[in-house]
Amino acid sequence: MPQHEMKLVTIICEALAREVVRRLLLEVGARGHTLFAVEGRGDQGDRSGEMLELSNLQFEVIVPPTVAATLLERLERDYFPKYAMVVYESDVRVRRPAKF
């Protein structure tokens, strides 16, 4: 079966932004997402992951290109100024495009 191009948007953010990001993903129309706890270092210092207040989450969302664009737009405008966050986009291929 042929493969279909999709975008993978990865969002690394402070753990306390969990609900905020979840809601945004629903709002822009992502059909699903995956997330897990990570540690990190960045401009806002070490986030060593011992307590929720000092932890990060990594969201991974597969979406069609248009949704990816909206999502990135919204993140940049509304959330980059307020939350510790790193976001990047990459190209992936899936088998069942109808799922995303």
Partner: protein, 345 residues
């Protein structure tokens, strides 16, 4: 009196809680790879809150509501009032932005369960009796200050949007336009956030099942309690120690604020307690609660409802300044003040 104070400090510093906390600080300072996994941190938090709440609830059942309402109301009002004077101090003396001032004020009005527990431990050591239902103060003091802080911050944001006119980005418009929605969210978080829910929920459970429920579960909620507290303080010591580096960033004012305000709040708390008819021990616990700053309930609520505030300021102040200060020195100082106040009045 002086001798008493030194003795109180010695007693506190040579008990397991302070010593384990100090070991954690040392581990962080020598950059040891000792680190508690997050699930263990969460597990210990859940255990401590459930045990405190449950035992407090059983004691409430024993004491009866009639005895309780006045001190509880006093504790709640005290918690709600603290941000009201912290905010202007942070704004004018500290030069903080409105949202940052509101957020820090909320942290200092809310409370720290671990600080409370170390104080209980201390009272047991010095054999000063206290109202066993004191955990209920802890439960009712977590949320009010958070709500007050969020309202302060949101009002300030609304004012700044209004004064700067239609500031363009509809993001800010939305923020200002939905003060009501935000407050609903904040209220939800303040009432159903994990620490409040656990504490209030287990308090009600303890109240519902009374002494009999405690009998069957004392082997878990009572027997290992003090040891688990010690281990938890070891962990908090490593966390606080690793944040000491942030002290440079937050500035001298906050350092002073984080030490002076707890002393002031402790005194106010003790006086309010004694006025509400509490024993010396109970007043001392209310003082400690007033002096403590929240680093669980408040940060979660702030990041959700007032994300414009800089979390580094409030978390560093609560966790790396006020918490160590209280656990090491604040508690014996509060005790000495209580002794003096109750002797004087």
């Amino acid at each position: 009196m002086n001798i008493d104070l030194l003795e109180a400090i010695r007693t506190n510093l040579l008990a397991p809680p302070a010593l384990f906390f100090a070991l954690g600080l040392v581990a962080a300072l020598v950059k040891s790879d000792l680190k508690f996994p997050e699930p263990l941190y969460v597990a210990m938090t859940i255990y401590l809150l459930a045990a405190i709440g449950f035992k407090g609830g059983v004691s409430m059942a024993v004491a009866g509501i009639a005895t309780l309402w006045l001190p509880l109301l006093a504790a709640m009002l005290l918690g709600a009032a603290i941000p009201l004077w912290c905010y202007p101090i942070l704004r004018r003396v500290g030069g903080f932005s409105p949202v940052d001032a509101a957020s820090v004020a909320a942290h200092y009005g809310s409370v720290s369960a671990v600080t409370f527990t170390v104080a209980v431990n201390f009272l047991e050591q010095v054999k000063l009796p206290f109202e066993p239902y004191a955990a209920a103060f802890l439960a009712v003091m977590e949320s009010p200050a958070i709500i007050v802080g969020i309202v302060l911050g949101k009002l300030a944001l609304a004012r700044s949007v209004a004064s700067s006119g239609a500031s363009g980005a509809n993001g800010t418009n939305r923020d200002a336009g939905t003060l009501g929605a935000t407050l609903k969210g904040a209220l939800h978080e303040a009432c159903f956030g994990r620490s409040v829910l656990l504490l209030v929920g287990t308090l009600l459970i303890g109240f519902a099942c009374g002494k009999r429920g405690l009998e069957s579960t004392a082997g878990f909620f009572v027997v290992p309690f003090h040891g688990i507290l010690a281990l938890f303080l070891l962990e908090l010591g490593t966390v606080a120690g690793r944040r000491l580096g942030e002290l440079r960033k937050v500035g001298l004012f906050l350092l002073g604020f984080g030490v002076v305000m707890p002393l002031l709040h402790a005194a106010v708390g003790v006086m309010v307690g004694s006025a509400a008819g509490l024993s010396a021990g109970g007043s001392m616990l209310l003082g400690t609660l007033a002096a403590s700053a929240s680093y669980i309930a408040a940060p979660a609520a702030m990041r959700l409802s007032l994300p414009e505030a800089n979390p580094t300021l409030s978390l560093t102040a609560a966790l790396a300044i006020t918490f160590p200060f209280n656990v090491m020195l604040g508690i014996p100082l509060c005790f000495a003040f209580t002794e003096w106040w109750f002797a004087a009045t």
